[in-house]
């Protein structure tokens, strides 16, 4: 381990002590898309002890333009991203423990994953989930690092409970979806620049160099050559419902997320059953073939196609309906298969 991380140990603010601390830490990365893959690779190379990677999606051809680690073979095999990330991480450093979790994060199922987690890295693509992370971070006293990007723009902010303002202090209401990868596209350097900031802050937090943690939100635009660091000394609000004196963690207690959602950057609707189920995928595949679908499947999912419609169904009952943004239609298609 010493030889492998010798250049990182030479960096004085980390040193041997810091390297040992990194090795003892457990990071949960929520999302294994562009930001998730980049952060997972960087933390693996940095020698983190354990990674839990949570993702609901699988690798597609259009991901390869910006999502590190993944290859054409992952696309051919339609591997879930969490699993694909785990396989690549094992090739980079077989000594890093990886827990690949294929699920759509909710307040409930995410909290169950946070036992003994030292840091949460945000690599999601929506504010609904970020607000859940933010509340869980405050409730369980786990730092998290916000990161997001679209086009050539990116934004990042470390949030340390008890020390910095939280995301809810900065955003009184959840923003309606602005520009997404779907409307604005994305170039890979915007991803890597956000991931660079997230990984740097992660290394500070994992080595417990709290004084070095950036007390500011960074926003940049790599194409227009803009960069601004916004200090947050006045941003913490006493009456914040997530981190204030009378906190209620509103994003944990309120009604569960919608059962259908349009995925960022895709002509795809996700449908989620009211309660998690455990499907018999092999049986489902056979049934679908019988119904005239063209079907491929692996131990994690079934993908089926008919009349230009493509549906991917995961073991927990969740499905991705491709080629549509109509949530009602998507739900109907889902029910026509799973009842």
């Amino acid at each position: 381990m010493k030889e492998r991380h010798s250049r990182q140990i030479l960096f004085a603010p980390i040193g041997e002590t810091g390297q040992l601390k990194i090795r003892r830490k457990h990071v949960l990365i929520l999302g294994a898309g562009a930001l998730g893959a980049a952060n997972a690779e960087a933390l693996t190379r940095a020698g983190v002890g354990k990674l839990t990677i949570v993702d609901r999606d699988y690798v597609e051809l259009s991901n390869l333009q910006r999502q590190q680690m993944y290859t054409e073979r992952d696309v051919e095999e339609r591997l879930p991203k969490a699993e694909a990330a785990k396989r690549h991480i094992r090739e980079i450093d077989h000594g890093v423990q990886v827990n690949a979790v294929i699920m759509d994060a909710t307040a409930q199922n995410l909290e169950r994953q946070l036992d003994a987690v030292d840091l949460i890295l945000d690599a999601t693509d929506n504010f609904e989930t970020r607000m859940i992370i933010n509340d869980l971070s405050q409730k369980l006293h786990i730092p998290w690092i916000y990161g997001a990007c679209v086009g050539s723009v990116g934004m990042t902010l470390p949030i340390v409970p008890g020390q910095t303002p939280c995301l809810h202090c900065l955003l009184k209401t959840i923003p309606i979806q602005g520009m997404t990868c779907d409307t604005g596209g994305i170039i890979s350097p915007a991803v890597t620049m956000v991931a660079a900031h997230q990984t740097a802050e992660a290394l500070k937090i994992l080595t417990e160099d709290w004084g070095a943690v950036r007390p500011a939100l960074v926003i940049f635009d790599l194409w227009r050559n803009q960069y601004q660091s916004v200090k947050l000394t006045k941003a913490k609000t006493k009456d914040c419902l997530s981190c204030g004196e009378q906190r209620s963690y509103p994003f944990l207690t309120r009604e569960n997320a919608t059962k259908t959602a349009i995925l960022c950057g895709r002509d795809t609707v996700q449908v989620r059953p009211p309660r998690p189920v455990k499907l018999q995928l092999e049986k489902l595949a056979k049934d679908l073939i019988g119904s005239g679908y063209v079907v491929t499947f692996n131990p994690f999912l079934v993908s089926c196609e008919k009349d230009g419609e493509r549906i991917v169904i995961f073991e927990d009952g969740r499905a991705l309906i491709h080629g549509t943004k109509d949530m009602i239609q998507a739900k109907a298609m889902y029910q026509s298969i799973l009842g």
Partner: protein, 77 residues
């Protein structure tokens, strides 16, 4: 004069990266209202505001020479 910097989709919507505007004594909320009306900018209620590179709320009062940045939260990843 107040200098207003626009990021991300606000820049695309307005076609400008920076705007100079008379606004001495205005609050950030008043400036937002003015910008929505004059530059057809939408959704400024969820936009984060920095005054002279420091996070500011809607009640912050602006003075000549201030630089205000409007930063729409980015959600992709």
């Amino acid at each position: 004069m107040i200098k207003v910097l626009l990021f991300a989709q606000l820049r695309d919507e307005s076609g400008k990266e920076a705007i100079s505007i008379e606004g001495n004594g205005w609050s950030v909320a008043e400036l937002k209202g003015k910008m929505e009306a004059e530059y057809q900018l939408g959704g400024l209620e969820t936009v984060m505001t920095a005054v002279n590179e420091e996070f500011a709320d809607d009640n912050t009062i602006l003075s000549d020479g201030d630089t205000v940045a409007f930063i729409p939260p980015v959600s992709g990843g």
